[in-house]
Symmetry: C2
Subunit: 564 residues, 2 copies
Amino acid sequence: MSAFARLAGAAIALALIAQPATAARKREPAAPPPNEGGLIDNVDGLTLDEDGRVRRFTGLLIGKDGNVKRLLAAGDKRPEWLDFKLDGRGRVLMPGLIDAHGHVMDLGFRALRLDLFATTSLADAQNALGRYAREHETPTWIQGGGWNQERWKLGRFPTAADLDAVVPDRPVVLERVDGHALLANSAAMREAGITAATKDPPGGRIERDAKGNPTGTFVDAAMELVWRAVPAPLPRERDEALARAQDILLGSGITATADMGTTAEDWNVYRRAGDAGRLRVRLLSYAKGIEPLLAVAGTGKTPWLYGDRLRMVGVKLYADGALGSRGAWLKHPYSDAATRGLQFLDDTKIRNLMSRAAMDGFQVAVHAIGDAANAQALGAIEEVAETYKGDRRWRIEHAQIVDPADLPRFGRTGIIASMQPVHETSDWQMAGTRLGEGRLGGAYAWATMIKAGARLAFGSDYPVESPNPFPGLAAAISREDAEGQPPGGWRPQEKVTIEQALAGFTTGAAYAGFAEDRLGSLTPGKRADFILVDRNPLTAAPRELRATQVYETWVGGQRVWIRK
Amino acid sequence: MSAFARLAGAAIALALIAQPATAARKREPAAPPPNEGGLIDNVDGLTLDEDGRVRRFTGLLIGKDGNVKRLLAAGDKRPEWLDFKLDGRGRVLMPGLIDAHGHVMDLGFRALRLDLFATTSLADAQNALGRYAREHETPTWIQGGGWNQERWKLGRFPTAADLDAVVPDRPVVLERVDGHALLANSAAMREAGITAATKDPPGGRIERDAKGNPTGTFVDAAMELVWRAVPAPLPRERDEALARAQDILLGSGITATADMGTTAEDWNVYRRAGDAGRLRVRLLSYAKGIEPLLAVAGTGKTPWLYGDRLRMVGVKLYADGALGSRGAWLKHPYSDAATRGLQFLDDTKIRNLMSRAAMDGFQVAVHAIGDAANAQALGAIEEVAETYKGDRRWRIEHAQIVDPADLPRFGRTGIIASMQPVHETSDWQMAGTRLGEGRLGGAYAWATMIKAGARLAFGSDYPVESPNPFPGLAAAISREDAEGQPPGGWRPQEKVTIEQALAGFTTGAAYAGFAEDRLGSLTPGKRADFILVDRNPLTAAPRELRATQVYETWVGGQRVWIRK
């Protein structure tokens, strides 16, 4: 079924054209010329050129190959012979946005499971859990996530007892919003065999009461103690999660995304979708460690599969945890706790893993949030890059808290700083608490990164944050959150221009995934991935930009999503 | 690169035809008609029709889609406009053969590693090992097999010291010809942590000297003590193994094969080859158990991938072991040992596994060698088929020793008996020893299976046997081995006709894999998978048939292998 047939209620009038109305075929016995493809006309079109400058147009001609064929200015002659022609009715047409850092399957499962993201208190979350348990008798294990004790203003981690009060009889496991802590009820801890005797694993922490009894929250590596008791999802649940994730992404205007941590199981889900023609979003996959990387891709990046809809590009490694759960690894102790966070890999190990991937030409993306983790990742890249030369595009994911002394190192080795503007607006108050004002000189330092010569790629880290890229664009240019806080922006010297922000979500994100030859800008020969939206991001004020609505999403010249 | 460009030294003259020599284009201003495809002419062609009758032809016209377009008789007019035309010089052209039961990756690894099968003394084996070590600097671990101290007339097991004399510095592990003992050198024992203190495991024995020190040979369950130290193959080794397996299969005239026990890792190897255009043999995959089945294929058979070159069809389950090692599960004790063999699954478990696969539409293939295992598999199929109706094609693999009372049950439920003619000629003497003459009424009972209404599919169980299907065809019609033993054939009433044997390796094997709509016969609309051979299997005496040589192998209308 074509994208057109699938989507009822098109918001834009669609004219299927067999021949131009003006042609007088009877007097012209020669065969008509071949059609030139499809035309989206009468749009307020914008894209970034490869040099970062804005290019405007009013018509987009799409070739039969699904690529951009021509951008047409107001005065340009329109082709006569077309497969189809759509009237854009003056709407804004812009490149599909690319999220440089997300978790596709997690997004889908989050949508299928109990979502506590919107809860504002423990009581609120308890109500949601009780309702979900009543409405979902299967599967036995209740899974969910999105909680944030900071948002709840709880002043402590939630506990198993908090959950037992609502669901005493079925195991419940709920991930923290950042994915760096897991909350279990007593039934789940029982199934997992967790007792007071269970030791904290390296890189992890079990929250305990004064007597040493686990209270229900498992941080970082300790999460695995509970996870291993949770039944694996069924294949149809996985397929459904991917379908849900794609709908959410396309509806947010995302046409391509990095998948930061693809397991071998995830890969099989993507391939099933690709084989069945159900891949609509383009997925740039980074394997969750060396093992799935080698098992899936073997001796080098996979080819682009399914018409550039899937590729395994490289590997995701973790240097540390997250700031909220104090898992980010710092050079000096946290301001609000006697710990430096969690170091996940020693210097030798991280170099070995990076070398193992690089020797077969894979790209390496290292999660580094704390300043010590960033320094370690930088040092490892600088050393490994001596051996593995050429166009490597070493990535540091998050690059959130960087020692100002280390910032210039991003530029020197051509590192990609893969950052998430919405993390800044979510975290700025917490960051101040965790680090103290004196250590914020290199925090979420987008403008400084650009100045240092780093390549910026922007994303959302969904489902940690919403995948909607427009709040990200707004945060990038304002450093104000949805409530306009703090007025004028937090550390406003790190704001970027709207062109730079847009580049982060388009050309920069494409470059970060070795995809700039085909994705990221509406340039003849590249994929016709674009969205129609209700306002112009170049001129909208941050508050307006944040509220942008997507009307339609097109991938490879086909309409794959439409607002109902 | 095309199959033509890739293969140098074509044995048959190849003429690329831009236009027929007789055409006089200047007098005909109209455009020429489109080419009709490619023609292999002047062949002694044969195929089975769908009803099992032989059809003869002298020309094969291949469409641009790689399918058979027309079979041409001697008097039929040949098309004028062609992409290419080959002169078959009267050679025999027959359908590519399909092996209904093989192990693709095992075949490839066997070929990559040290093969001591032909060695006649320890010194001979030591020479072979030394040469192999010099020629293969990687991988570090040297693996191989095929040794037999009886054949060497050694009068003892070989020792680690025997190997250390040749390879002291790299670990070496060599399997005995029967797979029931493993010989390790000192480096391998060191890596595995084997010392005098290592205990014999249940079901296993470590050979030791007078002081109790392990001497290097590990019998049965003790083999695992060493195996667990052997590194998993690297991705490029797996890719190379698949390439080797494909070469061997194509060179034997096999154009499609069931892969009976595909792991998730194997599947990734097949997909890498498919993605890179390196799949030449068609693989019908049966997952090694439920876990890889669901992980890979999810909720149903995969689509045919890569132009019908790969598909996961179903699952392989094991009801018992093998006859030689007395692992086949019998209704009554072995004649030569006080055991009934090994039952792998209880009745409930096998039904549950079969139901789990069938509920998602997967095909089920159950390995059953002993009469008790066959009775169990039949009972399970009869029961599960009550729930899972429709065209299920339940398969029993080997169906080797069947209680004559159970034979009619194969026909009643439309079961596919997937059998290996060469196992009969390899095993007949041993089968008599293990079972006694009184229990052979349903042994390797091909003709009786057909009479009972079962669908026969033939294979080789490579690499347990050679994948060469011609000895299989010869065994099927003669029940004599390569030395003509026993003269007139063992239990000759179970011989089949050459047409039935050929059907087992073509139409029957295609049907067994739900592939008869596209594979198995040279019929217009089906894939042009065929071989050119040096004699006519329909008329060759068994001894001649066994020695058939393949000149060329074509898959999907492309020449993918040629004898050098």
